[in-house]
């Protein structure tokens, strides 16, 4: 299927290439192609998303219209597929097009919040929570642009003081900054550079390396018209922060840090030995220490560990005042940005900041404040973060991943150009400065929306975050980005996208099928959802069970609907007759009984003479696919005399529902004096006497009766019995004298 999907995607991509103007017809055609290939929807959505990202600004709008059209006309599955990417695609496009196009895009965005015109569905094209971040980003970007103009200068200054530029960390971010810088922006850029030569320099070198190539140039950083203003403010933040801390991570320093943490953690643990989270955390730390000491870790992984350690440090000393001076401010902001960027894999931008940030939350708060966001927004996440199961951060699995990561020093193809190794794998294209700006702006808004319905949402995401980190850790070593080259670039494009963006892409590229590992289990793979629905075919209207739309599926569905019908009919009947719970089967019967799904109509009856359409109960349950749980057979369903005759001839086996009234029936055959064999018959959903036939008021073994009175007599008797409405069924070939194991465990009920 992969091949096929890839082909379809490639075709689609080529078709898109041809789309240069805003042609209704071409767009309609592309929509139809998408519709017809909905089963490859994910591949197509990828192709389209990538196309939008890559296409020159002039041709962006038509491509967006295709997206718009596809999503509105074929909402399933496309709305689902595009939803998570929406932010990145839209913002990516927004940043590169001119103002006229932007206005068009604004209009389009508006329609996404509403139901598709003419559609029955009242759902908006995209769920609000996918559209809203975009709106917020646009708004925030505009605002931030202005604010930033004022703040940036100061912020930069502080930054400069605070840190020395350092070679970039593993994070793709710095380069991003660069890569995003579109030529048009240039003017603003230089400005900022001038201020801080350091920062400026560093990023530059990186750039070439990082750039995923394609993505890098086209996107202009500024989401909002006031673009010019952005870069400056952004830039300072981003560059210095990550790069700065260490020009290379000192293992010793790291060991020290870990050691300190352990000490602190031990102290905490001692206070509250029952707190399991502390316990686990401590254990994680100890494990980590061992690893660091015993292994030769590549820089990139050290970086990650360092960050994580820093994060833990923050948690462990939560008292770090929110009141911290404005000093830190400038720094924090960038950091946030950066973190957002780097986590292509991360679902939750908000939390991210803490993890990567060595800076105390306070600082972030300050910055936030400076930017006009409530400090609480920034500081809140840490708190939540603390609640996270440490296990997922530093679980065994994670360590294992680390270790194995060491084993193969990953030089991922994609990364190759980049000096920094694998971790950024998912993020290669990331964080153009501009994008970062948006992200920064974006970041706060979501948190800020207290006005919104009291969703636990805001706080929820953080929880999952650590796992995302873990995922990154894991990916750094464990998984090669080998697969699809396309998706990754896509993801990286924009740092701030909606929570799903990262994860889904990461999931796709790095972890296509869920593995039995914590991070993998927490990765959302939107393309798999259809396996639960569409892929299984349309559902039965009565019970929701799905049947594939192929030949086999249709056949099964017919049988299934038929089953519903018969059961329905019989229910009324049964109500009148009265029914009761059955005994459970015994072990050997249980082992032999096959779960049967509806009646298998297609198997022709084994006896040619009983081919009448109503005769579907011809299989002995232990020898066929079919003991349907339906059992429409006997009970009032006339079996032709010929069937009975056939039974008499030894080809079919008659049975009789166990009489409920013990007075009315003998429980042993009058001829042989043996008891009837009772067993649960799935087809009939009843306990039956096998090889039994009722003649008048008496019940005989069919085989005995046949021997005694001959075939004709039996046939007559049966026909007669049926005329009287006595339930009787015909079983598939199973001779009484056969050693039928299924009967071994039958229950003998005496005393009827």
């Amino acid at each position: 299927m992969a091949d096929n999907a890839a082909e379809v995607a490639e075709d689609y991509r080529q078709a898109l290439e041809d789309l240069t103007v805003n042609s209704r017809i071409e767009i309609a055609t592309l929509t139809n192609i998408a519709r017809e290939n909905a089963h490859h929807g994910f591949a197509i959505s990828e192709a389209l998303a990538n196309h939008i990202k890559k296409v020159p600004p002039a041709r962006t709008l038509p491509a967006l219209y295709v997206l718009d059209s596809v999503v509105k006309n074929v909402p399933t599955p496309y709305a689902l597929y595009f939803g998570p990417k929406l932010y990145s695609v839209f913002m990516g496009a927004y940043t590169k097009v001119d103002n006229a196009t932007r206005r068009k895009m604004d209009e389009m965005l508006k329609t996404w919040k509403e139901p598709v015109p003419g559609s029955i569905s009242t759902k908006p094209v995209f769920p609000l929570e996918q559209v809203r971040p975009i709106e917020h980003a646009l708004m925030a970007a505009r605002n931030a642009a202005y604010t930033a103009q004022q703040n940036s200068f100061q912020g930069q200054q502080q930054l400069m003081r605070g840190r020395q530029p350092a070679p970039s960390r593993d994070t793709p971010t710095p380069p991003t900054t660069r890569s995003y810088q579109p030529p048009p922006q240039q003017p603003s850029y230089p400005g900022s550079n001038g201020h801080r030569p350091d920062a400026a320099q560093r990023p530059y070198p990186m750039q070439p390396a990082n750039g995923p190539g394609t993505t890098s140039h086209r996107s202009t950083p500024q989401p909002a018209p006031p673009a010019g203003s952005h870069p400056p403010y952004q830039q300072p933040a981003a560059g210095p922060v990550y790069g700065a801390p260490q020009p290379g991570i000192s293992i010793d320093k790291l060991k020290d840090d870990v050691q300190q943490l352990i000490v602190a953690e031990k102290a905490e643990f001692a206070q509250d030995p029952l707190d399991t989270s502390k316990q686990t955390r401590l254990k994680a730390l100890l494990d980590l220490q061992t690893i660091i000491q015993s292994q030769d870790m590549p820089q990139d992984q050290l970086m990650i560990i360092r960050d994580r350690v820093a994060e833990l440090a923050v948690k462990i000393r939560p008292q770090l005042p929110v009141t911290a001076g404005p000093a830190g401010g400038g720094v924090a902001a960038p950091n946030t940005v950066y973190s957002g960027v780097s986590y292509t894999t991360t679902p939750t931008p908000p939390v991210v900041s803490q993890q990567s940030t060595p800076v105390p939350p306070a600082a972030a708060a300050v910055v936030a404040a400076a930017l006009g966001r409530p400090p609480s927004a920034a500081s809140a996440p840490p708190a939540t973060g603390g609640g996270v199961s440490i296990d997922s951060i530093f679980g065994q699995g994670a360590l294992a991943a680390l270790i194995s990561g060491n084993a193969r020093k990953s030089a991922t193809p994609q990364q190759a150009p980049t000096p920094q190794p694998p971790p950024p794998a998912p993020a290669p294209a990331i964080g153009p400065a501009a994008a970062a700006a948006i992200a920064a702006a974006l970041r706060s808004p979501p948190l800020q929306r207290p006005a919104e319905p009291p969703k636990p949402a805001a706080s929820a995401p953080p929880a999952s975050n650590p796992s995302a980190l873990l995922a990154m850790l894991r990916q750094s070593g464990l998984i090669k980005p080998s697969g699809t080259p396309t998706p990754p670039p896509a993801a990286p494009l924009l740092p701030g996208f909606g929570p799903h963006g990262f994860q889904s892409l990461a999931g796709l590229t790095l972890d296509a099928n869920p593995q039995l590992r914590p991070a993998s289990l927490k990765t959302f793979r939107p393309h798999m959802i259809s396996r639960l629905h569409e892929d299984l075919g349309p559902p039965c209207t009565q019970c929701g069970r799905r049947f594939k739309a192929n030949e086999d599926g249709r056949r099964k569905k017919t049988a299934h609907m038929d089953w519903h019908f018969r059961v329905h009919q019989r229910m009324t009947d049964a109500e009148k007759r009265g029914q009761h719970r059955s005994w459970y089967v015994d072990e050997s019967d249980w082992i032999r009984t096959r779960e049967a799904i509806d009646t298998d109509y297609t198997h022709p009856p084994q006896d040619p003479s009983s081919t009448s359409a109503s005769d579907h109960h011809h299989h002995h349950l232990s020898s066929t696919s079919g003991g349907a749980h339906d059992g429409g057979a006997h009970g009032g369903k006339p079996n032709s005399a010929s069937a009975a005759a056939a039974a008499a001839a030894g080809r079919m086996m008659p049975y009789l529902p166990v009489p409920e009234d013990s007075a009315r029936a003998n429980n042993a055959c009058p001829i042989c004096q043996e008891k009837f064999e009772m067993k649960w018959l799935d087809e009939a959903q009843e306990w039956v006497w096998t090889d039994a036939v009722r003649v008048g008021e008496r019940v005989f073994h069919a085989s005995c009766h046949r021997e005694a009175y001959g075939v004709q007599a039996l046939a007559q008797a049966q026909a007669q019995a049926q005329a009287q409405g006595q339930g009787q069924g015909v079983l598939g070939k199973r001779k009484a004298e056969d050693d039928v194991g299924g009967l071994r465990g039958r229950m003998k009920m005496e005393g009827y």
């Binding site: 997922s392 059955s582 020898s623 013990s662 003998k748």
Partner: protein
């Protein structure tokens, strides 16, 4: 009600006031709790507007899926069909794609919203399912002659599909996860074997039992236990939801630690039944096993219990919900373990869903009572008529575990019980054994069914017994357990 032809009568006017529409985005959950005191079935008299409130009125909860796709514990709801949830149901409906529900009746509810799928506690379960599907597919491919149809008794070779044991503390959502995984597997066309070795809640049987059954067909969405309830077992008539055929053993205790030796023996029996099933049925073998377990802490006894279950069922995947310590402990214990088939045991930790409801004593009691009633009398969809008969004390063989047994081997496993008024309203297990079998055999025999002692007349030495199936009871040993205590008079 609108009358056809009279255009001016606005149709549907009243319904708007009694029903409420709930829109779920992907991975959101509609969590609801139908109170014990309401009576199910009425759909109209409730008025609700605000989520989070109790809607007062006579109704249970009715739900109709009006668009999208939604499911209860893995089993999909049919579109536009009205589902009624009976009293004392605590559950959730979840969607992966978005859905609109129309709900009415009396219940407490709220919508759990998640900003992203990653935040949903369901995502790991879903991914676990997909991972298990991969493993199952592996069995299918490697399984040689996989006739997939009724191959009869094809040699039972080969390692079965994943055998998953689900552990966790009390009220951590074990059963729900087991059920969800089972339903998802079934939905994908598989036929997993589902086992429960937790006597506290019977699966397809009354409480006090352990059981296993193949789930190859749709589960009952309306069952309070979502398909694990006793109402899903065969009766003499047809069933709108395909029935499941369980293999049942009787513990007669609430907690395993009250009679560990017996439990161990029975788990051994159930485990061997499962092995035999795998051997006999390649479709089931491919799908593997999902095993629900008793609530466990890190206490040594609990761990031993889990280890025993894992061994008996050759479990190769252990899912731990919610308890990090338990996960760590089990990880340690399983570290050097290999299954029967030489596999390493994989441990998985799942966070406990924030939606798991604490089930108080009353809830459990109501559930047990409801199960017993359902066993004999059926549920809303299927009315059953049990048989009442009067038998002499001497015509039945009732056994009971001697007081304090299970700890001392010198006591007999079972002894004939003195029938007295004390037995009134107890539910006894009818064993699939002979009265003359030795106690040890009887004790470990499969359960054939249950009877309820409606009345004991000590003077006349006669018992009034409620039995699902007519017929003399004298030739089957009946075992009188020590739990659940009787509290209802079924014939009251």
């Amino acid at each position: 009600m609108s009358i056809p032809g009279l255009g001016q009568i606005a149709p549907q006017q009243p319904t708007t006031s009694t029903t409420r529409t709930i829109t779920l985005r992907p991975f959101w959950e509609w969590r609801f709790e139908v109170p014990r005191s309401s009576s199910a079935a009425t759909t109209t008299s409730a008025t609700t507007t605000a989520p989070g409130n109790v809607s007062v009125g006579g109704g249970g909860a009715t739900v109709r899926l009006t668009s999208g796709a939604a499911e209860r514990d893995g089993t999909e709801l049919a579109l536009n069909r009205v589902y009624t949830f009976p009293r004392n149901t605590q559950s959730k409906l979840l969607t992966y794609t978005g859905a609109t529900l129309e709900v009415a009746g009396a219940f407490v509810d709220h919508v759990a919203q998640y900003p992203a799928p990653e935040a949903s506690p369901q995502l790991p379960v879903l991914n676990l399912h997909f991972a298990l599907q991969e493993l199952r597919a592996g069995v299918g491919r490697g399984g040689g002659d996989n006739t997939n149809d009724n191959g009869g008794g094809g040699g039972g070779g080969g390692v079965p599909g994943p055998r998953v044991m689900i552990c966790g503390e009390r009220d951590s959502g074990k059963t729900t996860v087991a059920r969800t995984l089972a339903a998802l597997a079934t939905r994908a066309g598989g036929q997993p074997l589902v086992g429960s070795v937790d006597p506290r809640e019977g699966m397809l049987a009354l409480p006090g039992t352990i059981s296993a059954a193949v789930f190859g067909t749709v589960m009952d969405v309306e069952d309070p236990a979502a398909g694990f309830g006793v109402s899903g077992t065969p009766s003499s008539g047809p069933s709108a939801v395909p029935v499941k055929l369980p293999m049942v053993y009787y513990v007669g205790r609430e907690r395993v630690d009250e009679d560990v030796p017996l439990w161990r023996d029975l788990v051994g029996k159930l485990g061997s039944s499962a092995r035999a099933k795998f051997a006999a049925d390649e479709v089931v073998r491919e799908a593997g096993l999902l095993l629900d377990t008793p609530a466990a802490s890190v206490a040594k006894g609990d761990l031993d219990i889990l280890m025993h279950a894992a061994h008996e069922f050759a479990v190769n995947i252990v899912v731990v919900i919610g308890s990090v310590e338990l996960h760590a402990e089990l990880q340690r214990r399983f570290e050097n373990e290999r299954t029967l088939h030489g596999e390493v045991v994989t441990l998985i930790f799942l966070d406990k869903s924030d939606g798991v409801a604490e089930r108080d004593k009353d809830f459990m009691k109501f559930t047990r009572e409801a199960a017993i009633k359902e066993y004999f009398f059926g549920d809303a969809k299927r009315t059953l008529s049990p048989f009442t008969q009067s038998v002499g004390f001497d015509d039945v063989a009732v056994f009971r575990t001697p007081e304090g047994s299970g700890f001392y081997d010198n006591k007999p496993a079972l002894e004939r019980a003195d029938i007295s008024a004390e037995m009134s309203h107890w539910t006894l297990a009818v064993m699939n054994a002979s009265v003359n079998d030795p106690p040890e055999i009887i004790r470990q025999a499969p359960v054939m069914g249950f009877v309820a002692i409606a009345d004991v007349d000590e003077d006349r030495r006669r018992l009034k017994v409620l039995s699902p199936v007519s017929g003399r009871l004298g030739n089957r040993p009946m075992v009188w357990g020590r739990w659940p205590e009787p509290y209802i008079n079924l014939l009251g």
